[in-house]
Structure formats: structure tokens, C-alpha cells
């Protein structure tokens, strides 16, 4: 009955057409909808508004009209949608002649949805092959913006027999970055925390000595609703629970030589939370913060800082934010779960610890 094309010229329903309608055409130029050829077009909106005469629908059934605004330009009534034209939408534009004649309508398709797969998993942190049984957070870096709300269906931890393990992650809690390219998942804290019923009844989500596979299914959709190029798998083994707080005094700070742009290298005693390593360690000299580039190595047991300008001879400090965490959420001076019979630390404010070093 109707032609559908992006920039269609109106095809008019001739059944029941009135004199008013015979010259009318409805057009869509890819951004606005036009009602042309209506010789009785008033210069100003009728009492009931332009929408009483000309309305565009972007859905089927009992749906409200598409949001937009009207203007009269060169004898043509123009409807401008409030939101940008989106792929995959079918439009129906309807003109109701004020003389009560039969409605005239035309249908159009917006641009097609691009269904080319683009997204892959680029990185997963922790990057190591042994995760403590009280591992707290998992970071997944995708190459393209993703749809949220799909981790429950497409992110799994498999046991050594390939069986999906239930209840590993905190349900319904996907924490994305603003660009929807990094997902933070939290292992069920109820199973990690000693003394909680879930921990007592089900044990930790990862068991020391067991082998697992992190499996990300290809069907996970990107922000356009298109599945990924390929799935992703990472094998890891459960290790002992990590129950010591990071101690910067035990870190090894290896200072480069003056006049070079070699990286400052900090070796931790254990793997640390990748995301926090990007912003919770900074380098200062007597003039303030030193600009440079951060990277990690050795499965997040090493932090490297490459300065923008060559190192000068003198005194420097590595400033440690005590909020920095290891893989189990322990931070400096504060364990993830505190044994209240032995030690309670009421950690109030984020503080910093300076680790001095010299460049020669």
C-alpha cells in the first residue's frame, strides 16, 4: 500500500480523498517531516494545535505521537522531531484534513540499523592467572560501547568441568564507566565476607586450588544491540584468601637515573587493583606534581611511571593514596573485613603516605 524510503515523496491514499487532500503530499527528508501542497494551510497554529492536523508516529499500536515542534515555511508545514532520527525506526505521518475528510498518511523508514559486529573484549583485570578466593572486583575492557544489563546472561564463571557456577557475582549490579566500555563487576560480597550467612552457607565464590574459566559469550550486545565479534575466555586458578593490608613501606621503589626518561618502577608485594593503580599513586618533586604516563606490569604487581620530561637530579616523593586496594579490597591500614576481636581501625578520611626517593 505504501512505499517506504528514507527521503520519500508522499504517496497519498486516494480512497475517500477530499478536495483538500488531493494536492497534499507528506515527505520525509531524513530529518524533518513535511506536509506540502495544502493550499488552506493557515499561517498560525489552529486552536487545538498543529498536532490536531498533522502528527507523526514512531511506533505501532496505542502509542503517543513523536515529540517535536512545528513551523510553517514557504507554505509547507514542517514537523521537526525533538530527538535525532534513530536507526531502525518506522514512521507513520498522518494528516487529518480539518474539513473532516479521510486522513492521509504516509510511512517511512529511518536509516537501517548497522548490524556489523565491532565489539571485542580487550582486557580483563586482574590479568594474572591466580585470583585469591576473596577476589572482590573484576574489570572488563571492551573495544566498543556496550549495552548494560547483559552480564547476567553472558558473563559466567565455569568450573573445571565447564559447568556454569551460580551466584558468583553480585546480582543486578553492573557498574559501567561513562563510555560504557569498562564494566566493573563485584564478586558476591556476602560470600566473601567472613561471618555472613552466605559465606557460611555457600563458601567463597572462588576456592583455593580449584581451576576456573571466566567466559564472556559472543552474544553480549554492544550499545547498538549488535553481538560481539567473538567471545572471550580466561583460565585462572583460585588462590589463598588475601588477608593482609597493602603496606607501602614494603614496596620497592627503583629510581631511574637523572637525565633519562626511564620509568620509575614500584614493585608491590602482591597484585593490586588495576583501576586504582591508574590514579592513586602520584609523583611529586619540590615544585609539585610531576607529569607522566602510568602503566602496570607483572600482572599488576608492578607500577611504572614514565615522566614527560627527563628526570632531574633531586628529591622526589611517591604519594600513595591510602585508598589503594589489593585484589581483595584491602587498602592501606584497613582490611576488607576486620577481625573486631583483634583489631578495629576507624578509617575516616582518605589520607596519603609519601615514599621519598632521590634521582641521581
Amino acid at each position: 500500500m505504501l512505499k517506504r524510503k528514507l527521503a520519500g515523496i508522499a504517496v497519498i491514499l486516494f480512497l475517500g480523498m477530499t478536495a483538500t487532500a488531493q494536492s497534499v503530499s507528506i515527505q520525509f527528508d531524513g530529518s524533518v517531516f513535511k506536509l506540502a501542497g495544502w493550499k488552506q494551510l493557515p499561517a498560525t497554529a489552529p486552536a487545538k494545535g498543529w498536532a490536531s492536523l498533522f502528527v507523526v508516529y514512531a511506533g505501532v499500536g496505542d502509542v503517543p505521537p513523536l515529540l517535536g515542534s512545528y513551523s510553517v515555511e514557504a507554505g509547507i508545514l514542517i514537523f521537526r522531531p525533538s530527538f535525532p532520527i534513530a536507526p531502525g525506526v518506522h514512521y507513520r505521518a498522518v494528516f487529518h484534513p480539518p474539513d473532516g475528510g479521510a486522513a492521509i498518511e504516509n510511512e517511512f523508514d529511518g536509516p537501517r540499523r548497522d548490524t556489523t559486529p565491532l565489539a571485542r573484549v580487550e582486557h580483563v583485570y586482574p590479568s594474572g592467572d591466580v585470583w585469591p578466593s576473596n577476589q572482590l572486583r573484576l574489570y572488563i575492557y571492551f573495544s566498543a560501547p556496550m549495552s548494560r544489563g547483559q552480564a547476567g546472561a553472558y558473563l559466567h564463571v565455569l568450573d573445571e568441568n565447564g559447568k556454569v557456577l551460580p551466584g558468583v557475582f553480585l546480582p543486578g549490579e553492573e557498574l559501567w564507566d561513562p563510555g560504557f566500555k569498562r564494566l566493573t563487576m563485584t564478586f558476591d560480597p556476602g560470600r566473601i565476607k567472613r561471618g555472613l550467612t552466605s559465606n557460611t552457607a555457600m563458601g567463597p565464590p572462588i576456592a583455593d586450588g580449584k581451576r576456573y574459566t571466566l567466559a564472556i559469550d559472543k552474544d553480549w550486545q554492544d550499545a547498538r544491540g549488535v553481538p560481539m565479534v567473538e567471545g572471550f575466555r580466561k583460565n585462572f586458578r583460585g588462590g589463598p584468601a588475601e588477608r593482609t593490608a597493602p603496606d607501602p613501606q614494603k614496596w620497592r621503589v627503583v629510581a631511574p637515573k637523572a637525565g633519562t626518561s626511564e620509568p620509575l618502577v614500584v614493585d608491590f608485594t602482591k597484585p593490586m587493583n588495576y583501576a586504582l593503580l591508574q590514579r592513586m599513586l602520584t609523583v611529586t618533586d619540590t615544585r609539585g606534581s610531576v607529569s607522566g604516563t602510568v602503566s602496570t606490569a607483572e600482572h599488576e604487581t608492578q607500577w611504572r611511571f614514565t615522566p614527560q620530561q627527563p628526570w632531574r637530579t633531586g628529591d622526589y616523593q611517591l604519594i600513595v593514596d591510602t585508598g589503594i586496594e589489593d585484589l581483595a579490597g584491602n587498602h592501606v591500614g584497613q582490611l576488607f573485613d576486620i577481625d573486631v576481636f583483634e583489631h578495629v581501625t576507624e578509617h575516616i578520611e582518605t589520607k596519603t603516605i609519601p615514599l621519598p626517593f632521590s634521582i641521581h
Partner: protein, 388 residues
């Protein structure tokens, strides 16, 4: 835009912490209604919401790191007994803003306490280009867009300027996800989750927002549960009155329920909550609504994995705190305040109190695994039920 201090780490147990603030006081209308300036509302996202008793809508913008107060100008009292039932509200919103229905996300629903119109926050699109949406649905089922172009509004920024991430391309990845808000005694309480550090973030911000007042950061501890205390962010909370004392009932990122006296919520305080219920493992409470019926008190709790629970909340103050692991009913691991599971309510994504007799549900089909539900599959329906 104003700033308030980012909440530092708090030590708390992983439990539903009941933050109880007096319902009576919380619902007392502020007078006069705050006169907000008319400006374009610049939301980057629209998530958790709450209303003040006088019809000011607070919208959490996790991407923008802020909360916006919008005067809805929607103060025509509701017709008695009016209900809201809309099939396929996601498709209606999609048609309104011109996208396929699968590109609509609904993040929260709240009911205007005066007009009883329901407000939905969400997004048009699902990626970084998603546009924030706030729509209103009235008793006739009409779905209308809440214009943000020249609204009477005020804004407060929640985040300290995050340190830049040299490794990040396309922006700083750090974000605070605002999980719940409540307006209590002239203050906006905001709970959130960081996508990086494991921290508690509960803020109290006086309203109207003032330049000089950056709000109060609260550290919520959980009372000893066994011999360990742990850190945990508050996931959701609701004001509540127990024996005339104001509390908040709060839930952490696992399911124990905790009560905290509002009198403890002082600037800089380290607050210890008392666990009064454990709602089961592998689960998160999503919404709670307290109500009274036939002389008894109840709390409806919508959960990520365990459906809707009806807590019997008479004499909440009489429950001894749970301070040791209790596994009374393995494997469901429930303890404390008794509750019924409302098994006839399936797929409840959000729940809000419509009036003294009715609740409003957003219902859709869960995707994902039973223990890890994902985004609901449409159609999504708004459904009024009599409070059970």
C-alpha cells in the same frame, strides 16, 4: 553548580542497613515550596529519583556526578482511587522519543506524592550517546515527556574532581552510581556505589541547595556480625519510624537489613547500624516501601533475585540484632524479621507507593540467569496493585 565532598570510605557490614528516619516527619511538607530558578536542566543521565513532600523531584545523574532538583509544577491533587495501569510503557516511551523499544532503558519510577502521577527516569539509547529521559504517566495512561529545557531546577555536584586517568581514552572511567535517594526532614540523603574503590557513600545534603553547604558525608558501619566488620556501600534505604524514633532502614550490597537512628546521622559521624534481618544470599534489595494496613506495619521489598517480599514490620524495635551467622533455612539463608514471599508477583523491576492503599509496579520479564538477572525484556508494564 555546587559541590559537596565526596564520601570517603566507610566501614560497614554487608547488610541491609535500615536507615530509619521518621516517616511522619519525612512526609511533612516543606513550606513554602522552594522557589527554584528556571534554567535548562543539563542531565547527562537520569537514574535514581525521589520526591520531596511538596512535589520537588530529585534526579540522580551518575554520569554527571550530580543531583538535580526539578520543580514538577505538578500539584493538582490526585482523584481519589485513581490507579495507573499501562501495558508496554517502554514501547510508548520509545514511540514518544523515536527509537525502537529495545533502545529504551527505565532506571527508576517514583510517584508524585500530590498528583500521584508516576515519573520514570531512563535513557533513549543504551550506549555513551544515550540521552537522559524523564517521562510522566498519569492515571489516564498518557505518557508525556518532562521538558528539561526551561525547568525550575537546582543542581548539586556530588563528586570531587576525579584525578585524570592517563590510561583512559575517551574520558575518566571513574563513576559514582547513585543507587537510591530519599528526602528526609529537609535533607536529601544520597547513596551510591563507586565503580572503582569499595566504599560507602551516603551523603546528607540540605535542600534548597546552598553554595556554602557542601552536605555531610556519613560513614555507615555495621554492628558486629560474628567477629568481623566489613566495608560495604549502602544499596537502598527508606525512612522509617520505630517506637516514635526516627530511623533509616538501609540495605548494603548484600541482603541483611539494618536500622540506624537518624539521630546518629551527624556530620562526620561513623554510624553503626543494627542488623535486623538477612534477606538471603545472591540477592540485592532494589526498592522498599513501608506501609500500614489493618493496624499492622509492613515493608514491601523488591529484590534482584528473590521477587517481592512482604516484611512484617510491627515492633521492628523488638528484634534482637543478628550478630552471628544464622542459617535457619538453608539454602535460602534468611533470618530476623519474618516475611512472606509474594510469589504471584513476577518480574517486578521497581516498586513505588501510589497512595495509602496501592502500590505501583514496573513489571517485565527478567533475562539472564535466575541468580543473575539482567535487563528486563519488554514489554514493560506499569501495574497498580492493592497493598497486600
Amino acid at each position: 553548580m555546587r559541590r559537596i565532598t565526596f564520601v570517603s570510605s566507610a566501614v560497614a557490614f554487608c547488610m541491609t542497613a535500615a536507615l530509619a528516619i521518621g516517616v511522619t516527619a519525612a512526609l511533612k511538607p516543606a513550606s513554602p515550596v522552594a522557589d527554584l530558578p528556571s534554567r535548562k536542566v543539563e542531565l547527562k543521565s537520569a537514574g535514581a529519583m525521589t520526591f520531596s513532600p511538596d512535589g520537588i523531584l530529585f534526579v540522580g545523574d551518575s554520569v554527571g556526578g550530580s543531583v538535580v532538583a526539578i520543580d514538577t509544577m505538578d500539584r493538582k491533587p490526585a482523584a481519589k482511587g485513581a490507579t495507573i495501569n499501562v501495558q508496554g510503557v517502554d514501547a510508548k516511551i520509545a514511540a514518544l522519543v523515536g527509537v525502537p523499544a529495545d533502545q529504551i532503558a527505565i532506571n527508576d519510577i517514583k510517584v508524585n506524592p500530590i498528583s500521584h502521577n508516576v515519573y520514570l527516569s531512563g535513557a533513549r539509547g543504551k550506549g555513551p550517546d544515550a540521552m537522559p529521559l524523564i517521562v510522566r504517566v498519569d492515571a489516564s495512561g498518557a505518557v508525556t515527556n518532562v521538558s528539561l529545557d526551561n525547568a525550575k531546577r537546582e543542581m548539586v555536584s556530588l563528586a570531587d574532581a576525579p584525578k585524570s586517568d592517563p590510561a583512559a581514552r575517551g574520558g575518566d572511567p571513574r563513576m559514582l552510581t547513585i543507587t537510591d535517594m530519599s528526602f528526609v526532614n529537609g535533607n536529601l540523603l544520597v547513596a551510591g556505589l563507586s565503580n572503582e574503590e569499595w566504599s560507602s557513600s551516603l551523603r546528607s545534603i540540605p535542600f534548597p541547595f546552598k553554595d556554602a553547604d557542601k552536605g555531610t558525608t556519613l560513614q555507615i558501619w555495621h554492628a558486629s556480625h560474628g567477629r568481623y566488620e566489613t566495608q560495604a556501600p549502602v544499596r537502598t534505604f527508606v525512612p522509617y519510624t520505630i517506637s516514635g524514633q526516627q530511623y533509616i532502614l538501609a540495605a548494603y550490597t548484600c541482603t541483611p537489613l539494618v536500622k540506624i537512628p537518624v539521630s546518629d546521622l551527624k556530620p562526620g559521624a561513623q554510624v553503626k547500624g543494627q542488623t535486623i534481618a538477612d534477606l538471603g544470599s545472591g540477592n540485592q534489595p532494589l526498592d522498599m516501601i513501608p506501609y500500614k494496613k489493618d493496624g499492622h506495619e509492613y515493608i514491601l521489598v523488591a529484590n534482584s533475585s528473590r521477587g517481592v517480599m512482604k516484611l512484617k514490620a510491627d515492633d521492628l524495635g523488638s528484634y534482637e540484632k543478628i550478630d552471628s551467622p544464622v542459617v535457619p533455612n538453608p539454602p535460602s539463608n534468611i533470618a530476623g524479621v519474618p516475611y512472606d514471599s509474594l510469589n504471584d508477583l513476577k518480574g517486578v523491576q521497581h516498586i513505588a507507593r501510589l497512595d495509602d492503599s496501592n502500590a505501583l509496579l514496573l513489571v517485565g520479564k527478567f533475562t539472564g540467569m535466575p541468580w543473575a538477572p539482567g535487563a528486563p525484556q519488554g514489554p514493560l508494564n506499569l501495574q497498580t496493585i492493592a497493598l497486600p
